[in-house]
Amino acid sequence: MTLASITNLSAHYTAGDQRFHALDDVALDVRPGQVLGVVGESGCGKSTMASVLSLNPGPSLRVTSGTLAIGGRDVDLTDTASHRALRGGTVALLPQGALNALNPTRRVGAMAHDILAAGDRRITRAESLRRTAARLEALELPPRVLRAYPHQLSGGMRQRVVTALATLRNPRLLVADEPSSALDVSSQRLLVDLLRRLVADGLVEGIVFITHDVALLSELADRIAVMYAGRVVEEAPAKDLVAAPRHPYAQALLASVLVPEPGTRGHRVTGIPGAPPDLRAPIPGCPFAPRCAHALDRCADERPPRLVIGERDDSCWRSAEAEEAAHVR
C-alpha cells in the first residue's frame, strides 16, 4: 500500500540554450504513516525533486515526464497549471533555508491566515489564529509570535514558525527539505518530535525528509532513498540500508558519513574520490561509473536496471549480474 508514489519523473533546468538534466527517471514510494528519508551529495537533485513533489517547480525547471499518484488520483507532473489546488493541503513543502521563507513585511499571524484561507475561504481570522497558536505551542513557541514580524524572531524560532506554517493545513504529504541542518541540537529534537507526532496522530499521512544527516535519518526514517546525479540509486528500509548498503555509491556515501566519531554528525559528504558528473548532457549508462571501484564494461553505456528484491531495490549492474548468476545456479 502506498500513500504517494512518483513514477517516471524527469526534469531539466534551462539556462539560455543550455539544459541541465537535474532529474532522470525518478521513482519513489511513500507509505502511509511512514517517513521516507532521502540522502545524497549536494547538487544531486534533492531540492529539485522536493519542488516537483510539492507541486511547485521553479520557473526555469521543465518537467518532461512524471506522475504523482496521491489520495486516489494521478497528478500529471508536467501540467503545472493543474497543481495549485493541491498545494498546501494535499502536499506541502517545508523548504530548505527557512530563514528567508517568511515574508519580511507580514506578521506571522497574518501569513498563517493567508495560508489557511487559501484552503478554506470562509475561515475566520480568529479561527486561523487559534489553530496557528496551537501548532506554535507544539513547537514551544509563545502565542505572541503571532504578532511578530520575521525579523523579530531568532533563527531557530523562524525555522519553527516555518515548520508550523508548513504543517498548518495538515497536508497528506509533507516534503521537508533539509529542515534540520540550520538548527541546534535541541531545536532539531523538537522538530523531529513534532514531525513524528504529526505522523503518529495522523495529521500528516506521510513525510519525505531530505537531509545530509544519515545518522539522524537512521533514527527518524522508516525507509531511505539514496540519490545520485538526479537518479534514485537505492531504496531500502532504513535499518537495512544503514547496516548493509548494496549500491556502490550508497556504500561509499555511508562509509564517508558514518565515521563513528562524535562531532562529525551532519557533516557534508566528503571523501568519495572524484566529482559528480556533468549533467548538461544526458548520461546513457550509470552516472557513478567514473568513480565506481566496481565498474564493469557495460556500466558506462547501458542504463543499470532497477532490481527489486523483497523490501529493497537498487539500480546497479553488479547487483543485476550477481542476481542473474544466482538464478543460473
Binding site: 495549485r84 515574508n103 513585511t105 507580514r106 501569513m111
Partner: protein, 335 residues
C-alpha cells in the same frame, strides 16, 4: 516615540538642504560675471513703456530688495521677505504681486499633478509587480511600453496627445484651463468645462508616471519573485493576487525612496507639460516669465519648486518609516 526621533533626525538634514536651496536661488544668478541685477531689469523693460514707468519700476525694485546695499545684506533682505511670503513685484505685469500670481496658478498645477502622481504611482507599481510575477510575454510588452513612456520626455507625449486627441480628432479642447468666454467661478458648468480641459494634460502625466513607476517596480520585483518567501507562499497555493500583494509591499519599499529622489524630475517635467497645453499653472507662468525676463517671478517659481521637492522628500521619509517594520525596529533598537 521612535517615529518622532526618525522624523527629527531627518528634519535637521532638510533644514540644511533648504538653506542651500535658498542660497542657490539667490546667489547663483548674481555670482556669474557680467550680470548685475541692473542689466536684468534693463532687459526686462526693454521696449517697454516710457522712461518714467521704467524709473518707477526700477525704484520699486531697488527699494524692495535693498539693491543699493551689499550682497550680504541683500541676501538677508531676501530671506526676510521670502519667509514672509513676499516675492516682490512682477516686471512684466507691473504692478501685480508675484505672490498673487503664484497663488492664482498654483491650484491648477496641484489639480493636475497630485492626482497624476498618486494614481500613476499606484497603477504603475501594480503593473510592474504583476509583470515581474507573470513573466513572459505580458512582462515583455509591459516593459517595452513602460520604457517607451519614460524614455520619451513628458512634453513629447503631451504634444502627441494634444495633436491626436484635440486637433486631428477633436475630442478634447486644444488647451488652456477653460473655454474662451468662460471665467473661473464655482458653478457646475464651469466645472465640466474645466475638467474637459484638465483631462488631456492629466492623462499625459499619468501615462508617463505609470511608465516610470512600472519600470522601477519591475526591476525591484524581479528580485522579489525569486525570493524564498515568494516560493514558500506559492507552495501553499496562495492566490496570485495575494502573492502579487506580497511582492508589491516588499518591492514598494525601495520604490518609495525612488519616488523621493525622482520627485524633483517629476515636478520639473510636469511643468513642461503645462506649456504644451497652455494650462494656466505654474509651468506656463514660468514659461511666460522666462520669455519676458520677469526675474522676480522666475525666482519665486524656482524657490517654490525647491520647497515642494524638499517637503515631498520629507513626507516620503516619514512614510517610509511608517511602512517598513524593519525601519521601525531599527529605530527602536530592536534586533
Amino acid at each position: 516615540m521612535a517615529l518622532l526621533r526618525h522624523i527629527l533626525s531627518k528634519l535637521g538634514w532638510y533644514a540644511a538642504a533648504f538653506a542651500a536651496a535658498l542660497a542657490l536661488n539667490f546667489f547663483l544668478p548674481r555670482l556669474l560675471p557680467g550680470n548685475p541685477v541692473d542689466t536684468l531689469i534693463g532687459q526686462a523693460l526693454r521696449g517697454h513703456a516710457s522712461s518714467e514707468t521704467k524709473q518707477r519700476v526700477y525704484e520699486t525694485y531697488v527699494a524692495e530688495f535693498g539693491l543699493d546695499q551689499g550682497l550680504w545684506s541683500q541676501f538677508l533682505t531676501y530671506i526676510g521677505k521670502t519667509l514672509q511670503g513676499d516675492f516682490g513685484t512682477s516686471f512684466s505685469r507691473y504692478p501685480a504681486e508675484v505672490a498673487t500670481m503664484i497663488g492664482d496658478a498654483l491650484p491648477w498645477t496641484i489639480a493636475l499633478q497630485l492626482p497624476a502622481v498618486l494614481l500613476g504611482w499606484i497603477i504603475g507599481n501594480l503593473v510592474g509587480a504583476v509583470a515581474a510575477y507573470r513573466r513572459g510575454g505580458f512582462d515583455r510588452s509591459v516593459y517595452l511600453s513602460s520604457l517607451f513612456l519614460t524614455a520619451a520626455p513628458y512634453y513629447c507625449l503631451a504634444v502627441l496627445l494634444l495633436y491626436g486627441l484635440a486637433v486631428a480628432l477633436p475630442l478634447f479642447p486644444t488647451g488652456g484651463g477653460w473655454s474662451f468666454g468662460n471665467s473661473p467661478e464655482w458653478s457646475a458648468m464651469f466645472a465640466v468645462d474645466a475638467v474637459s480641459h484638465w483631462f488631456l494634460p492629466f492623462l499625459s502625466l499619468l501615462l508617463v508616471f505609470i511608465g516610470g513607476q512600472a519600470i522601477g517596480m519591475r526591476s525591484m520585483a524581479v528580485y522579489e519573485v525569486d525570493a524564498d518567501y515568494v516560493r514558500f507562499a506559492e507552495s501553499f497555493g496562495l492566490p496570485d493576487r495575494k502573492i502579487v500583494g506580497y511582492i508589491f509591499r516588499n518591492g514598494m519599499l525601495p520604490q518609495i525612496t525612488g519616488l523621493a529622489l525622482a520627485i524633483g524630475t517629476l515636478v520639473g517635467g510636469a511643468l513642461l507639460t503645462e506649456i504644451v497645453f497652455s494650462y494656466p499653472g505654474i509651468g506656463t507662468l514660468l514659461y511666460d516669465a522666462i520669455l519676458n525676463k520677469d526675474y522676480p517671478v522666475i525666482q519665486a517659481v524656482t524657490l517654490l519648486v525647491l520647497i515642494v521637492v524638499l517637503v515631498a522628500n520629507f513626507l516620503v521619509d516619514v512614510l517610509y518609516g511608517l511602512i517598513d517594520p524593519r525601519i521601525r525596529a531599527a529605530e527602536r533598537g530592536e534586533r
